[in-house]
């Protein structure tokens, strides 16, 4: 080996080739390499004319594997940190990996002040975590480097100081102060990145400084607040954002400073200053100009990042002073007019926190903005406003009334919000029983009229009014105000309204509660006298909006009315269970809407329906679900929703207005194809349907075929007709076994098919008009999710393969594809295929025989090696692999394939790409 290295040493002008380097490495990591060789290798490496990161790596390998040579190797590494290039960074990284105890203070400092700029930055960034140095030394080095001529070095040292403030114990006040003041100086730095880090240092070390001396805490807090405020007008967006996140950390600030930050004018010597002591007053006079209007500027900023950050900082600052909270609220309300959704949401989030702390004092002047957000076109914004309405205390009746009006308007314009709006009503009622008492008379009249059918029956509105009335007495004893008949009316809407109370009781408890309250008490209340009400109300001392007050529930059901909303989160054990039942309820809520929508479609309101569907879909996809049962429920609902959406879209083509334009036909055909595919997916990928549900789905398939025959089919009429008949006979046989009446559509279709069969042989002669007649009879049935439905799913992974690391193959010979497969809910009667498709369209199927594979139960995992036979004559190729399920329910097969699946396939997982590369590449 020495001989091979010899020529290298002689020609020191030539850099070491990669080949040589790799052989050196193999020698180095071999523990039995003789010392003499190692020594000459070390020499070679250190004398190498142009060190690269390869040689550095080798040096560190050498140091780790051969401890006797570690010192000279380290020396050599340290020597190369002098390199002005990026190599210095590499050598520093290598040194840090070795983490020698020999790296003493002196050496550490000399590395930190090395001539290489990237090296310095690297050291400052990593010194805290990779080197074990004393905090005092680190502090000195970092502070010293804040005067480096290079901006990035200064920024890195400041960042290091920020990190140090988190876990260092600094007892010496003057040391903390020195660091803080140094950062303040850098507020005037020319470079944005330095100012940014300086702001972070001032925020973090300012806190340390204020915490270091209890007497001076207020003084230093004000000081830090003012300094951070002065950076709110920096020209760099990032600096401004950082300044506001610094403000969000303040622990205490004098009220006058806070108020000054909301006003661009410097507040005068008037009464504001009476509260201040001498020191604060002098301090205020000095700093007022830099504080002036800082928060207002932040909220007015051009960049949404800054506005958001400013809103966020108010979150913390409003806790510090009630008066400030009140003034800041005026500005926050204006943020609801912002053009960025992110900012609007952040403003609402801040208000929500204020409400939780009881500092959200809504005033009449805020209502237009605040309640206006209830009809915002962004779902999250509406939701956030309702979230606040659920906890806020409203000051007077007028506000309470306009809140109700706006919530009802919200309900009118956005049907999909119903569940949450109802819940908001329920909370409003619980929190404002007194106001409910004031409006109960008119409510009663309206509800009464609606139930007697005198009025146009607006069910959502009535349900909402009922909810607010029945929720008022929930935690309160004085019930006389609410007429019992309202409770009986509420019983009739139980199914619709019980969700609004789901945070405190379930459906049955609510029913029991309603039943008990609907029994008329001794004094008849059927016609309420307003004066009586007021008399009763006058007995109520003040309003106790938060239901966590000691409201007495004087009924047997009281004990069953469970935990408060806040407590619910504690029941972590039940969480999965409750989440699941919540999901079931939600899913059924959605499923129940479809039949109604169908009626809307028949009256031509397709666009409205499509809009609601889109919203529902958005909501479903945004749900965050943990348990597998809930996932199954969601998968089902989502798929069903997609089918309905496609059906709605297809149906639109059949409406007279759209008729028969040719471009429409192509689209219709495309959509029908998609619909067909989706329904089959529903039928095969989900199991556990009851017979009735299965009938429903089969009916959908019949509809699809009938549509096809009626509108688009010209080529495959016979095949489609055959399929239609086969499905129909399937339906027929199922109907025979059960006492279910077939739908009008199925009956009419049966008649039609019978006619066709008696008249002639195939569907070609079938008049299209007759399908039209059947289809008109179709209507969507209600689907109820009972929790039995499971989703068939497969996961496929192929490890150690990507475009950079392909599997080897020899062209013409079969190649193996090692798959790791996990199956969920697959039963043995399923027929699974591994579908491998090649770029040019060639497909090869491999049957997965479930009886011969390992694993049992709902979740099965196993490894499977699939052969691929037709490897091409190419340097590399790519296969798309996918696990698919054969649709067995349909007995008509479209194409006869040899050796492959007989029926259509439904994919169970995402396609996986596998890369191969020829071994014999030239």
């Amino acid at each position: 080996m020495n001989e091979t290295l010899q020529p290298q040493q002689n020609q020191t002008e030539q850099p070491l080739t990669l080949h040589t380097l790799s052989s050196i490495r193999s020698l180095l990591i071999n523990p039995s390499t003789p010392k003499r060789t190692v020594s000459s290798l070390l020499q070679t490496l250190t004398q190498s004319p142009r060190p690269t990161h390869h040689t550095l790596n080798l040096l560190s390998d050498l140091a780790t594997h051969h401890s006797s040579f570690s010192q000279p190797a380290l020396d050599s590494l340290i020597h190369s940190t002098d390199s002005p290039t990026r190599l210095a960074v590499d050598s520093l990284a290598s040194i840090s990996e070795l983490s020698f105890p020999e790296l003493d203070d002196e050496r550490f400092v000399s590395l930190c002040f090395g001539p290489s700029i990237p090296g310095r930055i690297w050291m400052l960034r990593n010194a805290g975590c990779t080197f074990r140095v004393r905090p005092a030394l680190l502090f000195t080095v970092l502070l010293g480097s804040t005067k480096d001529p290079y901006p990035y070095v200064r920024a890195a040292s400041l960042e290091g100081l920020v990190g140090l403030s988190g876990h260092g114990e600094f007892c010496d006040v003057s040391m903390v102060k020195g660091c803080y003041l140094r950062a303040l100086e850098l507020f005037d730095d020319m470079d944005d990145c330095v100012r940014l880090s300086a702001v972070r240092v001032v925020a973090s070390w300012g806190l340390l400084l204020s915490a270091s001396n209890a007497d001076m805490k207020a003084y230093w807090c004000n000081e830090v607040f003012a300094k951070l405020c002065s950076m709110a007008r920096d020209m760099s967006v990032k600096v401004r954002v950082e300044a506001f996140s610094g403000l969000a950390k303040m622990e205490m600030v004098s009220k006058d400073f806070l108020l000054q930050s909301l006003s661009k004018r410097v507040l005068g010597n008037g009464k504001q200053r009476e509260t201040m002591d001498q020191i604060t007053s002098e301090q205020f006079a000095m700093l007022a100009t830099s504080v002036a209007g800082a928060l207002m500027h932040g909220l007015e900023d051009e960049f949404f990042e800054v506005r958001k950050s400013a809103c966020q900082s108010l979150h913390r600052l409003t806790i510090l002073s009630v008066e400030f909270a009140r003034e800041a609220l005026d500005l926050l309300m204006d943020m609801l007019n912002d053009d960025s959704v992110v900012v609007r949401l952040q403003a609402l989030e801040t208000m929500h926190h204020m409400a939780l702390n009881g500092w959200l004092k809504l005033q009449e002047k805020h209502l237009h903005m605040f309640l206006g957000a209830l009809v915002d076109n962004c779902r999250e914004v509406r939701c956030a406003v309702r979230k606040i309405l659920k906890v806020v205390r409203l000051g007077d009746l007028a506000m309470f009334k306009s809140s109700i009006d706006r919530l009802l308007k919200n309900l009118d314009s956005y049907l999909q919000d119903e569940a949450d709006v109802f819940s908001a009503f329920s909370h409003l009622g619980r929190n404002h029983k007194k106001f409910v008492g004031y409006i109960v008379k008119e409510t009663f009249e309206e509800v009464e009229a609606a139930f007697e059918g005198n009025d146009g029956f607006k069910s959502a509105r009535i349900a909402a009014l009922l909810i607010i009335s029945i929720s008022a007495p929930l935690f309160n004893e004085y019930l006389g105000i609410i007429p019992p008949v309202l409770f009986s009316y509420a019983v009739t809407l139980l199914g619709r309204i019980y969700l609004a109370f789901s945070d405190i009781m379930d459906k049955d408890t609510l029913l029991a509660y309603l039943c008990e309250k609907s029994r008329p008490s001794s004094d008849s209340v059927s016609d309420i006298n307003h004066e009586d009400v007021e008399q009763q109300l006058s007995l109520i001392e003040g309003d106790t909006p938060n239901c966590d007050s000691n409201g007495v529930i004087d009924s047997k059901i009281g004990s069953q009315i469970m935990k408060e909303q806040k407590e619910v989160t504690c029941y972590q054990v039940e969480q999965h269970q409750s989440e699941y039942s919540e999901v079931t309820v939600y899913v059924n809520f959605i499923l129940a809407k479809f039949p109604d929508m169908w009626q809307m479609i028949e009256t031509g309101l397709t666009n409205e329906v499509l809009r609601s569907l889109r919203c529902l879909k958005e909501e479903l996809t945004s749900l965050n679900i943990d348990s597998s049962e809930s996932r199954d429920a969601l998968a089902f609902t989502l798929l069903y929703l997609r089918i309905i959406k496609l059906l709605v879209e297809v149906w639109e083509h059949l409406l007279p207005a759209k008729g028969s334009c040719s471009h429409g036909l192509a689209e219709l055909e495309f959509k029908l194809g998609k619909l067909d595919k989706r329904i089959k997916e529903l039928m095969s990928k989900l199991v556990g349907f009851s017979a009735e549900e299965e009938l429903n789905i089969l009916e959908l398939i019949l509809v699809t075929y009938a549509l096809r025959l009626w509108k688009v089919e010209t080529i495959c009429v016979n095949l489609t007709f055959k399929r239609l008949t086969s499905i129909y006979s399937c339906v027929e046989s199922m109907l025979k076994e059960r006492p279910v009446l077939p739908s009008n559509f199925v009956v009419e279709l049966g008649k039609l098919l019978h006619k066709c069969q008696t008249a002639s042989v195939n569907g070609a002669s079938c008049s299209t008009l007759q399908f039209d007649k059947c289809l008109k009879l179709f209507s969507l049935k209600k689907f109820v999710f009972r929790g039995t439905i499971r989703q068939l799913k497969a996961e496929l992974s192929i490890s150690n393969n990507d475009s950079l690391h392909p599997f080897p193959f020899v062209s013409g010979l079969p190649v193996s594809v090692p798959c790791e497969i996990t199956l969920h809910n697959i039963i043995s009667k399923c027929k699974l295929w591994l579908k491998m498709s090649f770029d040019d369209g060639l497909v090869q199927y491999v049957f997965l025989d479930l009886d011969h594979l390992e694993g049992y139960g709902d979740v099965r995992s196993f490894a499977f090696v699939a052969p691929f036979y037709r490897t091409p004559k190419a340097n590399s190729f790519r296969l798309k692999v996918c696990i698919s399920l054969e649709c067995l329910f349909e007995s008509v097969c479209p194409v006869q394939r040899y050796g492959g699946p007989k029926y259509e396939l439904v994919p169970l997982c995402k396609e996986k790409q596998v890369y191969f590369s020829n071994v014999n590449k030239d």
């Binding site: 142009r50 390199s83 002005p84 290039t85 990026r86 002040f113 001539p115 010293g144 480097s145 005067k147 480096d148 001529p149 901006p151 200064r154 100086e185 850098l186 005037d188 730095d189 020319m190 100012r195 007008r233 920096d234 020209m235 661009k264 004018r265 100009t289 002036a292 209007g293 207002m296 500027h297 909220l299 007015e300 900023d301 051009e302 960049f303 949404f304 500005l331 309300m333 204006d334 943020m335 007019n337 053009d339 960025s340 237009h368 903005m369 206006g372 009809v375 915002d376 076109n377 962004c378 314009s413």
Partner: protein
Amino acid sequence: MAIETLVLGAGQEVGKSCVVVNINGKRIMFDCGMHMGYNDHRQFPDFSLISPSGDFNDALSCIIITHFHLDHVGALAYFTEVCGYGGPVYMTYPTKALSPLMLEDYRKVMVDRRGEEELFTSDHIAECMKKVIAVDLKQTVQVDEDLEIRAYYAGHVIGAAMFYVKVGDAEMVYTGDYNMTPDRHLGAAQIDRLRLDLLITESTYATTIRDSKYAREREFLKAIHKCVSSGGKVLIPTFALGRAQDQNSGKTIGTAREMNGLYYLDGIQFGNTSFFGSNSTNSELCILLEDYWERMNLKVPIYFSAGLTIQANMYYKMLIGWTSQKIKDTYSTHNAFDFKNVHKFERSMLDAPGPCVLFATPGMISGGFSLEVFKHWAPSENNLVTLPGYCLAGTVGHKLTSGKSTNIDIDPDTQIDVRCQIHQLAFSPHTDSKGIMDLVKFLSPKHVILVHGEKPKMDSLRERIHSELEIPCYNPANNETKCSSVDTPNSTLIDRNLTPELKVEDERVADGVLVMESNKKAKIVHRDEVLIMLDKKKQEV
């Protein structure tokens, strides 16, 4: 060494901005505006003070124009074509595109309508524009060997810029007009922290501190929403967008002149609303409404009256890079100047039932279509009229804002019974005094000179800058020269942050080689790295 500032216009006044600065031997003219309040020699800056001999080419290194308002660009064609300056003129791209339109517009009104003496011709404007070199924001332009200039975003109007000038080690900034608070369609001024010897800043609102614009927006939207949701009609009179189309522009009322919405009264500018200035307010309102409509799902139609073309919006659409951050961020999906809810108004819709919002000209309801609409809509208390912040005496707008009179005489025969609601609203594209202070504080120059403002207010601001920021500050009058001494040479090579206590010595601070390989991003490397990159050995001689 000193920087010499000769103020030719806008010294202790607003109008004909023109400042000539002598910096390290280079003479630069900032802005070349005309005064709209005068008709005589005072209309233009006194150019003879630059060079008594009239040889401007030798006397000036270049001219820099900050934006296209006439009080900043109005005298340019005259100076280059009539006075004979032939050197380079620098301005931003939008300013170059819009200035000739402004000049031509002015010329037409003056000559064609009012028959005044022609100061420059259309050909002059065209020839003048040939001398203009357009620059981009933050692009450093080397005017000659020693002189470099750079433009920074100034807000104010589209294309407005502040200019940074560096000659040797002397540096300065001339702000032009700027705005430190953003609005919905233009951003706030944006500049780097520089080491300046001199800052020349506008001071239109030297003592005003403006409240949050949100309150104004909120009230405006609330009023409009209330009106349309109760079925009322909203009339928003605005200044003309098109060029010299409005019958009323150029009309003299008292001592004030209206020039496409640019109002001057006794030499003081009131509504900075000319052409694009006016469109500025227009676009601002329209974007505000459009946003609100979108968010609240409102379906009430918004109309532009027929005379009010959306032509100027076309410029905004093209110059999207010069608008506010939000518009820049979203324009790929939706151009904010494509107003979805805006339709054209037909006269026949005047008495049509149902709510609507209408933008109509002219701005102060002094006649024309907005007056016609006003006659129809004013008698109903359901309707709403919004008015600009300032209305000239004698216009209907003024009568509406000044008193509670319910009867307004349009002419001897007609009297309108005004029952509709009135809402007043103002947007200003200038920075307030807080903004000026903030900018001065951020830049911390060695000297400040105030221009473009009213003398008493400037005096008070000057005192504040002097006392609060401890920076010497001046507000010279027209034709005065101010010397600001620059004693301590400042080198850009060594950072000001370095204090003698701890100094990290590094000889190679300014060393670096810019390497541009084909198809690769340019990068700066250390000189020792160059050899490695090129794979060459070092040759010692």
